[in-house]
């Protein structure tokens, strides 16, 4: 019941709706830009961009690729960083705890809310991409990375798997945000720290000197969803990513629990 209230509060909030709206704009902007400049087939640009003109179903995919490094971590950072710090800054944290919500339960509900936002954000990009792609471009069979061709129905299943992969990828970041959020009562600080960490992780992932630690960075497998576009699907990165994110959720979730259960709520 607290979860229902949390979701209601989160998704009725203007800020949340605005962020989801901005994410919905990503595929629309991509599709319109490609449509307007469609005259010259440059063959350059991000992967798949040139395939959009041939197949509208690629709009959703391209939008996800574009959103993963920045837009999704940014919005997730805002929501995850706000979880506890936001309540603390409103002063509502003390009233929730006095209700009493139970500290562990509140933390769990807050994390579930952040995870629900990850799902909503990813779904918004995919659904908006599919709709605008179908409106502006032809919809036909999809060529996979392996060169094999599948029908739109099979592609829809892969899109769902893809969205699941992206949501999974964001769970570790959400746990980090939750932990940082228990450290402060300044939500903007927690949000910024979470977003900066996601950027730092991606930068470290690109420095060859740090190859030894790269497999343990939470963003290491963010772009590994290409494996879902092979024939047959390669589940390796899905499984590895699940394990990696589970590790982050456990470590930072544990740290958040430890911190929040012992914290004096003075705001």
């Amino acid at each position: 019941m607290l979860l229902a209230s949390e979701l209601g509060t989160l998704f009725r909030r203007v800020r949340t709706i605005a962020m989801l709206g901005a994410l919905a704009l990503v595929p629309i902007l991509i599709a319109v830009a490609v449509k307007v400049t469609t005259a010259g087939d440059s063959g350059r640009g991000p992967a798949f961009l040139d395939q959009i003109t041939q197949n509208g179903l690629f709009v959703a995919f391209t939008a996800l690729v574009v959103s993963i490094p920045l837009f999704l971590p940014m919005t997730v950072g805002v929501v995850a960083g706000d979880t506890i710090a936001g309540e603390a800054s409103h002063g509502t944290l003390r009233y929730l705890l006095v209700a009493p919500s139970g500290r562990l339960r509140l933390l769990a509900v807050k994390y579930a809310g952040a995870a629900a936002f990850c799902l909503a954000a990813t779904s918004v990009v995919v659904v908006s991409g599919v709709i605008v792609g179908a409106l502006l471009f032809p919809v036909r069979d999809v060529t996979l990375l392996s060169g094999d061709t599948i029908g739109p129905g099979d592609f829809a299943i892969r899109c769902v798997l893809l969205a699941g992969y992206v949501v999974l990828s964001l769970l570790g970041l959400s746990a980090i945000g939750l932990f940082i959020s228990t450290l402060t009562s300044v939500p903007v600080g927690a949000m910024a720290a979470t977003i900066v960490l996601s950027a730092v992780s991606q930068i470290l992932d690109n420095l060859p000197q740090l190859e030894a630690i790269q497999p343990y960075l939470f963003s290491h497998l963010w772009l590994g969803f290409g494996d879902l576009l092979r024939q047959p699907i390669s589940w390796d990165s899905y499984g590895q990513n699940a394990l990696l994110q589970l590790g982050y959720v456990t470590v930072f979730g544990g740290a958040a629990v430890w911190r929040f259960l012992t914290k004096d709520v003075l705001s």
């Binding site: 209601g8 002063g91 006095v98």
Partner: protein, 316 residues
Amino acid sequence: MPQLAIETHGLTKRFGAQLAVDGLDLAVPAGTVFGFLGPNGSGKTTTIRMLLGLASSTDGEIRMLEEAMPSAIESVLPRVGALVEGPAFYPFLSGRANLLRLDAADRRSPLGTRRARVDAALERVGLTAAARKRAHAYSLGMKQRLGLANALLAPRDLLILDEPTNGLDPQGTREVRAIIRSVADEGATVFVSSHLLSEIEQLCSHVAVMSRGRLVAQGTLQELRAQSIRRLVVLSPDPDAARRVLAGLGLAPSVRVCPDGGAELTAELPDPTMLAENATRALVEAGVRVRGIAVAGETLEERFVALTGEGFDVAG
């Protein structure tokens, strides 16, 4: 021994090197309206946070509603309504939505009666008309009343109210007092903190006084009044003679010369059995002319200033 709604033993809170609350032994009898008085920064809010399990104590024990805190927090807090350090709400939600959310936070509160209880609480604090307005549009007084409504969402055995009339106009203050009295009439214990003596005097039957983290007095208001020092005030045109007589009685009067040539002599009466009439007879027998004689009781305010070493905002 009456039942105690709140009981602490040696309750202590230390922030680094600073002792915010030092060895507090509170005893709040059940069914009373209990005033928790102290200047700002004397440790009242920190004590309330510890009572409600928001902050951990460095040392000491807390029992609330006959159960140990914070280990029994899940069974105690549903019976406690609280207003802690001012009201706080989600500014983007309506007053009503705020209450619905805070009620949902309590796992034990029944969903079936939630809307009815929220509406009743809003009605009780007079916010029914503004229930659908967003909380950020509320005046401070409205927020204060909404906070009170939150504390009254369910039938409570104990209300802990931190500065409940802060920021209210005189009309709002009267209304809040009426609400607190009505809750007390229903049998609940009300624990009200305030830095305003007048607030406590008008509402409470019992009082505890905090100063710099320590409890300096505790008891009924009458007990505290009885402890206060009485003074003998003599108006006489013969101040020197009067002073000699009073000194002969063992008093140490201070003399203030009035512009008309007379003087006002003031002396503390150390012993309650020492009656003012003895002084009157002695003055008359010594031929001292007396314009007026009176026994002045110390005001509660003066008493608390003496206890805490600080002044109170009497006017608020």
